[in-house]
């Protein structure tokens, strides 16, 4: 997506100028970074003691599902982090990802209906559970009147949303886009369903790429990035965290929950994203893996990475050992983690990884134990979702 290269002539560059994070580890990118360098907690990562009152009054909060509340908080925080730039409403967009949207509200209202009858079901149920509720609330509250979209490619949604947002800037449709992902799916029904499909770690620990991995823990929260057209951001003297260099998506066309075993569609997605970014595989400085700690998922991703990079590829990390799996928000959380990794010149280790699974082939340079110093370069961030969705994003450090 770099406008200074021949193939992409005329496409505008999209840079990251603001970060907003709401997670179990706390609010703000700093809390996420500290968590990534610390010991992983056990169990699901609920945002405990969540208080929406700094962003929504009581009536507003009652009419917004948690996934919308998290998104509003993260979006407003990202705008504040960017120094509240003046934005022309008509070219200000919103693109958010979510997988399970207002499932918590649907569960509560189903119980209300079952226990107390049809007449007690909230008239706000539909506008609370709809997947676009979060993006709509962000658009409404911040007066952003350009494209307002919601991406629902399951666990690839956060990554795909950022890619789509960068494209809106590249194509000249938007000058500014709030983008990322949000999820609040720790409802009893969802937890039971994931447990029954054997996706959750029985030990309550996500151990990406480890021989003893047995699934993930569920996280809730949101991460939102403010993207701006690079020229305008530079002109206003914005702090530029990173640049969105490229994105691609592909589909497995294979199975609803199991990945294509050879990882070929995921590998093709990585190659297409790198091509979009005009970055050679050898120039990639870090892979932020999807790495959910499931048997099949990590194996397919390892095969895909090996197909793209061979042996001697870039350092590979996965944030999920610390963050847990926030589904449609995960790609956005990991994009923020990648940006922070550039700023701090450190690649966080894969938390929970002690013994690498030999079945993975041994060609991945997994960062383990301690963070690794690096010179910031392009980061390939992978996300894969139920339905066979593959999303890959390439982020780069700011250039002068």
């Amino acid at each position: 997506m770099r406008a200074d290269r021949p193939r992409t002539a005329g496409r505008r560059r999209a840079v990251v100028t603001g970060l907003g994070v709401v997670l179990a580890s706390g609010a703000g990118p700093g809390a996420l970074w500290r968590a990534l360098l610390g010991a992983p907690p056990e169990g699901h990562r609920a945002v405990t003691d969540w208080d929406p009152s700094p962003w929504l009054d009581r009536a507003e909060a009652r009419h917004a599902d948690r996934f919308t509340q998290f998104a509003v908080a993260a979006a407003e925080s990202a705008v504040a982090d960017a120094g509240r730039p003046r934005t022309a409403p008509d070219t200000a967009g919103v693109v958010l990802g979510t997988a399970l949207a207002g499932v918590g509200t649907l569960e509560r209202q189903a119980l209300v209906r079952s226990e107390r009858g049809d007449k007690r079901v909230s008239p706000f149920t539909v506008p609370m559970i709809m997947p676009n509720a979060a993006a709509a609330a962000v658009s409404q509250r911040l007066g952003r009147r350009g494209p307002c979209r919601t991406v629902t490619t399951a666990c690839a949604a956060g990554t795909d949303a950022i890619g789509e947002a960068a494209r809106l800037i590249a194509d000249g449709v938007c000058d500014s886009v709030l983008t990322g992902g949000t999820e609040a799916a720790l409802s009893d029904t969802v937890v039971a369903a994931f447990r029954n499909m054997r996706a959750l770690s029985s030990a309550g620990r996500t151990r990406p790429f480890d021989a003893g991995r047995d699934g993930f823990v569920i996280a809730e929260g949101a991460a939102v990035l403010l993207l701006e057209a690079r020229d305008a951001a530079v002109e206003r003297g914005a702090r530029v965290y990173a640049e969105v260099l490229g994105h691609a998506s592909t589909a497995d066309a294979h199975d609803v929950t199991l990945p294509l075993p050879d990882g070929s569609a995921a590998a093709r997605c990585m190659r297409l994203a790198l091509r979009d970014a005009e970055v050679e595989p050898a120039a990639v400085g870090q892979v932020s893996a999807h790495g959910t700690g499931t048997r099949h998922g990590d194996l397919a991703e390892a095969r895909a990475l090996t197909a793209v990079f061979g042996s001697g590829g870039p350092p590979v990390t996965s944030a999920k050992g610390v963050t847990g799996h926030a589904f449609g928000a995960s790609g956005a959380i990991e994009a923020v983690a990648a940006v922070l990794s550039m700023a701090h010149a450190l690649v966080p280790p894969v938390a929970g990884l002690t013994t690498e699974d030999t079945e993975l082939g041994g060609s991945l340079d997994l960062v383990r134990g301690a963070p690794r110093a690096w010179t910031a370069g392009p980061v390939l961030s992978n996300s894969f979702g139920f339905g066979g969705h593959n999303g890959c994003l390439v982020l780069g450090p700011p250039t002068t």
């Binding site: 009054d57 009581r58 009536a59 007449k119 007690r120 909230s122 008239p123 706000f124």
Partner: protein, 78 residues
């Protein structure tokens, strides 16, 4: 009317619409004075049904314009 209905209705209105108690007077129009929307007005009626153990027919909901209307409705159905 000192039957306690107004006080109980006002409590529901304050809770649902999150407005200051002082604004909830008999003449207050739900939409214009108290910021209610068609959906929040449904919520107010649901709260009244809950509080007074009544069942408000659909047609009566549409006739409720002011806090006084809501009080009259409650008295009629209780």
């Amino acid at each position: 009317m000192a039957d306690g209905v107004f006080e109980a209705v006002a409590a529901c209105v304050v809770d649902v619409l999150q407005v200051p108690t002082g604004k909830v007077v008999e003449e207050a129009v739900f939409t214009e004075d108290l910021g209610a929307t068609s959906l929040t007005l449904v919520e107010v009626v649901m709260a009244l049904e809950e509080a007074f153990g009544i069942d408000v027919p659909e047609a009566d909901v549409e006739a409720v314009r002011t806090v006084g209307d809501a009080c009259d409705l409650v008295r009629r159905l209780s």
